[in-house]
């Protein structure tokens, strides 16, 4: 090839490549737009409003599905099987104790449920939104506060304006959470347009009133709600974060994390066949997976209240309202009236073993009536994440009557050697504010 011609071709080739390179850089887009995450300013657009509310509900579902499971262990609604990792608990939680500063994930779910719905309320009020959307935002905000109040010993209450970055203040006890819950339930009622919407908000508010000791208001709200009303938090098999965790944790895929053995419901269901507390055994699966700290393998008996990852969990029900009415009567000294309500709740159920309606409880005193009220709430609200709060609430007000919570501290478990795991640490009744909040928020005291 002629050298000049070759040189010419070479230079031209180089130019073409250089131009192609520059064009490539430009065309490939130094201006980068990454898909996926959504920026703040798009949240209030009408089409995004439902999604924002749903985000709050999702976080509440995550809090409730995992939190109810943990509370079931602490409330001795379930006996731990020893599983510590996937779908399990650390040995100290299994023993009934909540380590100070632990469970930051649950805290994050709760505060985000509150924060997202507050962001929704703030943005929607600013740009306008349909009543139904505002109803949902207030309602779920109220349930977030109510659940935080029931699950945590203390509260951190900050500005409800999501753009105000003032750190929240620490408040001992749960009253602040319930007061905000009441306020949001009340606001939701202002946007409710159907009876069901009204029942959900009133039912939620009734329980919050009860926590605040306002039994008149609690009974008044409860009385408006029919027996058969139920309001659920939606669990779904789409993603693990909002599976029904109590089901999943014992579904042997692969974990079998707990048992009903040694709980009140072990013998109670055998004796009564109460359809509200069913459980079963499987000859092929003698033990829960893993093994329990100092104890060994745990005989496996599985609850049957939840039978799939999709099974939703009640957060308001007409029968819960009846028991609130009964408790209001007890607080007013009307134990006979209370027992009438309690037995109405109870005897509607047909025994799985006899096919007959359950026998009513027979109380001879105020104290016995309290005992049956507590027992009936234990049964009616089994595995709904409510028991631990009930025990804390009753302890705070020194209510009479006995609890059916088993005394594992002094139980000699069979078979095998007795475990001392339940005596190492005191039993907890609520989550502690996590270390992540205590470390970052100057208003929250360090772990004491």
């Amino acid at each position: 090839m002629n050298e000049n011609r070759a040189r010419h071709i070479g230079i031209r080739f180089t130019r073409v490549l250089l131009i192609a390179g520059v064009a490539g850089v430009t065309a490939s887009g130094c201006e980068v737009t990454n898909p996926g995450p959504v920026q703040d300013e798009f949240l209030a657009q009408p089409a995004s409003q439902q999604g924002l509310v749903n985000g709050g509900v999702r976080r509440l579902a995550e809090l409730l599905t995992y939190g109810s499971y943990t509370h079931a262990i602490l409330a001795r609604e379930l006996f731990p099987g020893g599983q510590t990792g996937f779908m399990g608990h650390d040995p100290i939680t299994q023993s009934g104790h909540i380590l100070p500063g632990s469970f930051s994930n649950r805290w994050n779910d709760g505060v985000q449920a509150r924060f997202i719905t507050e962001t929704a309320i703030s943005r929607f009020l600013e740009v306008g939104a349909p009543d139904n959307i505002l109803y949902q935002a207030y309602l779920w905000n109220a349930f977030a506060y109510r659940t935080m109040g029931e699950f945590w010993c203390d509260a951190v209450l900050g500005p409800t304006d999501p753009d105000d970055t003032t750190p929240g203040t620490y408040e001992q006890g749960s009253s602040g959470n319930f007061e905000r819950a009441v306020a949001s339930f009340t606001a939701a009622l202002g946007y409710a347009s159907t009876p069901e919407e009204t029942h959900a908000a009133r039912g939620g508010r009734a329980a919050a009133h009860a926590w605040l000791g306002d039994w008149g208001a609690a009974a008044s709200d409860a009385a408006t709600i029919p027996d058969d009303f139920v309001f659920w938090i939606n669990y779904d098999d789409e993603l693990q974060p909002y599976y029904n965790t109590i089901f999943e944790a014992n579904a042997r895929q692969p974990a079998g994390s707990y048992s009903v053995i040694y709980t009140f419901f072990d013998e109670y269901y055998t004796a009564t066949g109460d359809p509200r507390t069913p459980w079963f055994e499987d000859a092929n699966i003698p033990y829960a997976t893993a093994s329990l700290d100092t104890y060994g393998q745990v005989e496996w008996k599985n609850q049957r209240k939840y039978n799939s990852r999709n099974d939703d969990q009640r957060i308001v029900s007409g029968w819960e309202m009846r028991l609130l009415e009964a408790e209001a009567q007890l607080n007013s000294g009307n134990w006979q009236a209370a027992m009438t309500i309690i037995n109405r709740v109870r005897t509607r159920n047909i025994s799985d073993t006899t096919g007959e309606a359950l026998d009513p409880w027979v109380a001879m005193s105020m104290e016995e009536a309290w005992t049956f009220l507590k027992r009936e709430r234990y049964i009616e609200l089994w595995l709904e994440g409510r028991r631990l709060g009930d025990e804390r609430r009753w302890a705070a007000t020194n209510t009479p009557g006995a609890l059916d919570t088993p005394d594992w501290e002094s139980t000699a478990f069979a078979p095998g050697s007795r475990t001392d795991m339940f005596t190492r640490n005191p039993r907890s009744y609520c989550f502690d504010i996590p270390e992540s909040e205590r470390d970052r928020n100057p208003n929250v005291p360090p772990i004491s």
Binding site: T14, G29, N34, S48, L52, G55, V111, P254, T294, E437
Partner: protein, 1031 residues
């Protein structure tokens, strides 16, 4: 009687197995011999001779001897002899070349039908001062100009046969630390150059192949979307290890910001550049190699639990039975039997467990004319590994072409393609992992200690395909002698498709599930460098360089999950009742330009000054322009007139430079995640955002020298480096109750890192038949978290991420350890027993950070650094008559601690760690009364126990024997060697009583810290034989 646990371990074709135990070896060797025995032409002449080392007189093999300007050439045999056939009569320039030696050229006249003999005695290059290095320099530079340390690994000098690049780098140079090791196929490793210098960003160096940036971190672990399950095999493949080591000519490593400034934002963890072989003018030179290898597990458990009940799931020895994996051998001796004192069963002892079989077939050819040179290679690798389902099959192709269409333009086009398929065994810290369930015995997820029950987990299928294409075209245009322009365009494509499948009927998931995880990453490289050389005076020369680079990096990940199939048919995700999909996409551009000038004064003094300006799309529209300066100087003091040559040859050097690291694509902006909820759209808070975010900047200065003494028989390279990272990017937690619960990157704090690197090599004895060479590499690193405060703020305890007055953050967890002011980066914290050897209940160190809470006494004591602070790498090479070479390379790592507790003692699982202290290790966790305090602590179920061990250890990485076997081949075979390499055969641990400190967590090659170990099987000892023939 043996019974098979699982009838189907692998779905891939077994076509290659039809060749039997010999694999492809026999046909390939036969083919090579045929090719090698091609007849010679008449009339033409021959050129022959011997090439020797001028210092020792020893023959030199693999020296390229060729006729300049022709296609005629060859390589010397191991006895130094060469023979060039079919040389047309005439006059030629005959040249001999080998890396590390001075090139020699002689004139020869070749007669018709005659033979010319020309011998060469080649001298080593003192300090290699005129060797060309590329990495970190603008364009290319002679080593004498470079003010920073640069490690160069020439593959021709590496005696052992490596199958991946990370092992090649292991213990190769001071300051290069390769981390990790396990029994899984293609399991990648992490690389640290001079330890950690960043808290929240990657500490992995960036990697180039022939000037083209490649994906430098590992492929993600195959994961199931929306659930914590489905992570069975835990294999993280690295692109670096997919390169065929036999395609590599050399690797250059620059370790700190003083050297990496011109790479700008992203380069402060160092740069590794791989240079693949190029074609050379001359007749085609073929190289064929066959490698066959095996391996076996050495005990990795405590006495009484040598293999921690894993014998049943490892492949048995192929020489013992010849069957493939998954065999359950109930009649042979198990751990438990050994513990009971039974050393042999009536049926005989277990086979040597965990044997593996490696096959590797390589073929390459290089050659070409004046205008076109080529190097083309191919590789086929077929390995079976320790665990029953572990297999790897790999294909590798490369074509490198050098085209010189005109004198002043050279086009270099290099392309490499790799495709590998691997099958894994469900493993690791995973409910459906073999190890976890075998280790925990009846207290496991299977609910049984029976190996036949645990073995059902082998039906969990894990398959993964990784593909990589790396192609780059470089134009070097030199319109005049003083002006050079180099333009590189590169495209790097990585693809991974992984499937985790539990078939319909799988015992822990009866309706089955299938995960399909697809990952793709594309890296585009645009790189221009111009250099103009200008003599300023007769003794001062100026070399001015300028250039610009743009790196575009985009990735896509699609994860699918299908659960609950209607029947036993071969499933797809589509056939499942429940389907979950996740999609992630991300693109980042990093671009910059630089100017640099090198003043060359009398070829003895060199002063370099440069500046790099960089921007990154992660900083939004402002592109976050950042300026990084560099300056360096060298002084070849031994070239001074006053220098007595008896003092040796010495180059002094010093360098200062800056480089940085950019945050992720979304870190600067506040975002919400469109996460969905039960089939409806939903947003949840994701990233708090920080519009003021900038890159963290690492500045480094280093001083050192390169020297040789005693006629090059003693060689040393010494470097002291001192790094400071300012505006360090740290993951700062927000106040959770304010809604954004994820941590946010902030420019907070200062981190220091300093150390020394010394490489000492000595020829202790040399003659024409024998030589003894010894080497010692020493590297120290001393990192220090100086401050966790913004700017110049004094450290304080205040921690307020969103408070505008907040300046400091508190200690926090990252890099798999704790980041604490005044401590190494990172340190491990935990409980420490102070009365370790007392026969008494354990007592603990006081906790300086957290008041004792119930059950947590003394839990936050600083135990020690996570990374080794001292690494010593001894080497030894013995050259025997006939050029037989015996070499060894070891590595001692010290100064760090490691957490070892694979067995969940907390839930009263019996752990082999504690076997010596159990009264009855087969049935109970009751401890002997004479158990010392430290072991009472470790072996009692509870929370937060003292499982920390002094992690000092030594490993003999390789012992290699290279034997020239030219003699058995015809003369047309220029070179043939037999190499036997024994790897990972001997180790020593200071305190860790069992296991292997190099076995890491669930994502060994991902840059998420190296802190703890989980339930894994460590690397086996391996033995590989290789025959390589060049003709």
């Amino acid at each position: 009687m043996m019974s098979r646990l699982s009838p189907q371990f692998s779905r891939r074709s077994r076509a290659f197995r039809r060749f039997g135990k010999g694999g492809l070896g026999v046909p390939v060797v036969a083919g090579l011999l045929l090719l090698a025995s091609a007849p010679a032409h008449a009339q033409n002449g021959r050129v022959t001779g011997v090439v020797t080392d001028a210092q020792s007189g020893a023959p030199l093999g693999e020296v390229q001897v060729y006729m300049v300007g022709s296609t005629l050439g060859t390589l010397t045999r191991s006895n130094g002899r060469y023979l060039i056939l079919n040389v047309p009569p005439g006059s030629y320039e005959l040249r001999s070349e080998r890396i590390g030696f001075q090139t020699l050229t002689e004139s020869v006249d070749v007669p018709a039908d005659g033979t010319v003999t020309m011998d060469f005695a080649m001298s080593t290059e003192a300090l290699g001062l005129d060797e060309i290095v590329v990495t970190g320099a603008a364009g290319a530079a002679r080593r004498r100009e470079i003010g920073n340390a640069i490690a160069q690994i020439n593959l021709a000098d590496v005696p052992e046969r490596q199958v991946n690049v990370s092992e090649l780098l292991q213990a190769s140079a001071p300051g290069v630390h390769v981390i990790g090791g396990s029994s899984e196929p293609a399991q990648g490793k992490q690389i640290r150059l001079r330890g950690n210098s960043s808290v929240s960003m990657s500490n992995q160096p960036i990697i180039y192949v022939d000037g083209v940036r490649i994906m430098d971190d590992a492929f993600p672990r195959v994961e199931t979307p929306g659930t914590g399950l489905g992570r069975p095999a835990l294999i993280t493949v690295t692109p670096l290890d997919m390169i065929n080591p036999n395609d590599i000519e050399r690797i250059e490593v620059i370790k700190g910001s003083a050297a990496t400034t011109l790479y700008g934002t992203e380069a402060s963890a160092g740069v590794i550049q791989v240079f693949t072989k190029r074609g050379s003018a001359g007749a085609p030179v073929w190289t064929a190699e066959i490698q066959q290898g095996t391996g076996w597990m050495q005990p990795f458990g405590a006495p009484g639990g040598d293999f921690i009940q894993m014998e049943h799931y490892m492949r048995d020895a192929w020489w013992g039975g010849g069957y493939e994996g998954g065999q359950y051998a109930p009649d042979c001796v198990t751990d438990d039997d050994r513990w009971q004192g039974v050393n042999a069963s009536p049926q005989g002892a277990c086979s040597w467990p965990g044997s593996v079989w490696f096959q590797n077939y390589l073929l390459s050819v290089r050659g070409g004319g004046q205008n076109l040179q080529y190097f083309i290679s191919g590789q086929y690798q077929d390995d079976s590994y320790v665990l029953a389902n572990d297999e790897l099959e790999k294909y590798n192709f490369r074509g490198n072409f050098t085209i010189t269409p005109v004198e002043d333009l050279q086009i270099q086009w290099n392309t490499g393609y790799t495709s590998q398929w691997l099958s894994g065994t469900p493993s690791g810290n995973n409910a459906e992992g073999i190890q976890l369930n075998a280790f925990r015995q009846e207290r496991n997820y299977v609910g049984s200690a029976d190996p036949r029950e645990i073995g059902k987990l082998l039906e969990y299928e894990f398959n993964q395909t990784n593909e990589r294409l790396n192609s780059g075209i470089t134009l070097t245009y030199t319109p005049q002698a003083r002006l050079t322009n180099r333009f590189t365009f590169g495209y790097d494509y990585s693809n991974q498709e992984g499937q985790n499948q539990r078939n319909f009927g799988f015992f822990l998931k009866p309706l089955g599930s299938r995960t399909n995880d697809t990952f793709q990453r594309r890296v585009l490289t645009f790189d221009y460098v111009g250099t103009f050389n200008l003599p300023v005076t007769s003794t001062i020369n100026s070399n001015f360089s300028w250039g610009g680079q743009a790196i575009g990096d985009s990735e896509v990940r699609l994860r699918l999950l299908g659960e609950d199939f209607p029947g036993a048919a071969e499933p797809t995700v589509s056939s499942a009742a429940i389907k979950v999909a996740e999609e992630d996409r991300e693109k980042v551009w990093n671009a910059g330009f630089f100017f640099q000038n090198v003043f060359d004064i009398s070829n003895k003094y060199f002063v370099t000054g440069g500046i790099r300006v960089d921007g990154n799309s992660a900083f939004g529209s402002g592109f976050g322009l950042q300026v990084y300066p560099k300056v360096s100087g060298t002084w070849v003091i031994s070239d001074e007139d006053f220098w007595d040559p008896g003092y040796g040859a010495i180059k002094l050097r010093a360098a200062y430079g800056q480089s940085g690291r950019a945050p992720g694509a979304f870190d600067a902006v506040r975002t919400w995640e469109p996460s969905g909820y039960a089939g409806t759209p939903a947003f949840t808070p994701e990233n708090l955002g920080n519009p003021d975010l900038g890159p963290e900047v690492t500045r480094e200065w280093e001083v050192g020298f390169d020297g040789t003494w005693l006629d090059d028989r003693l060689r040393a390279t010494f470097t002291y480096f001192d790094q400071r990272t300012t505006d360090a990017l740290m993951s700062v937690s927000a106040i959770p109750s304010q809604g954004f619960t994820q941590s946010q990157l902030e420019n907070v704090g200062t981190v220091d890192n300093s150390g020394v690197e010394l490489q000492l090599d000595a020829t202790l004895f040399q003659s024409s038949n024998f030589s003894v060479d010894a080497g010692l590499g020493i590297a120290t690193t001393n990192s220090n978290v100086v401050s966790l405060c913004k700017g110049e703020t004094e450290p304080s305890d205040v921690v307020l991420a969103r408070d505008p007055n907040a300046k400091c953050i508190d200690r926090f967890f990252d890099l798999g350890g704790w980041i604490i002011e005044g401590q190494q980066l990172p340190v491990e914290m935990g409980r420490r027993v102070i009365n370790r050897d007392e026969i008494a209940p354990p007592q603990f160190d006081d906790d300086p950070y957290t008041p004792a809470a119930p059950g947590r006494t003394g839990e936050n004591v600083i135990i020690g650094p996570q990374l080794p602070t001292r690494i010593i790498t001894p080497t030894l090479a013995l050259r025997l008559p006939s050029n037989i070479l015996l070499s060894a390379r070891g590595e001692y790592l010290a100064g760090h601690v490691q957490y070892v507790n694979e067995i969940s003692i907390s839930r009263s699982v019996r752990s082999p760690l504690c076997f010596p202290w159990y009264v009855s290790p087969k049935t109970s966790i009751e401890l002997k009364s004479e158990t010392p305090a430290i072991w009472r602590e470790r072996c009692t179920p509870g929370f937060g126990r003292d499982y920390w061990f002094d992690a000092d250890y030594f490993k003999l990485r390789h012992v290699s024997l290279t034997v020239p076997v030219d003699a058995i081949f015809p003369e047309s075979v220029s070179n043939a060697t037999l190499t036997a390499t024994l790897s990972n055969f001997y180790d020593w641990f200071r305190e860790i009583p069992w296991y292997d400190p190099e076995s890491l967590g669930n994502s060994p090659a991902l840059d998420d810290g190296i802190g703890g170990q989980t339930e894994r099987v460590p690397s086996p000892a391996t033995f590989r034989m290789s025959v390589r023939v060049t003709f």
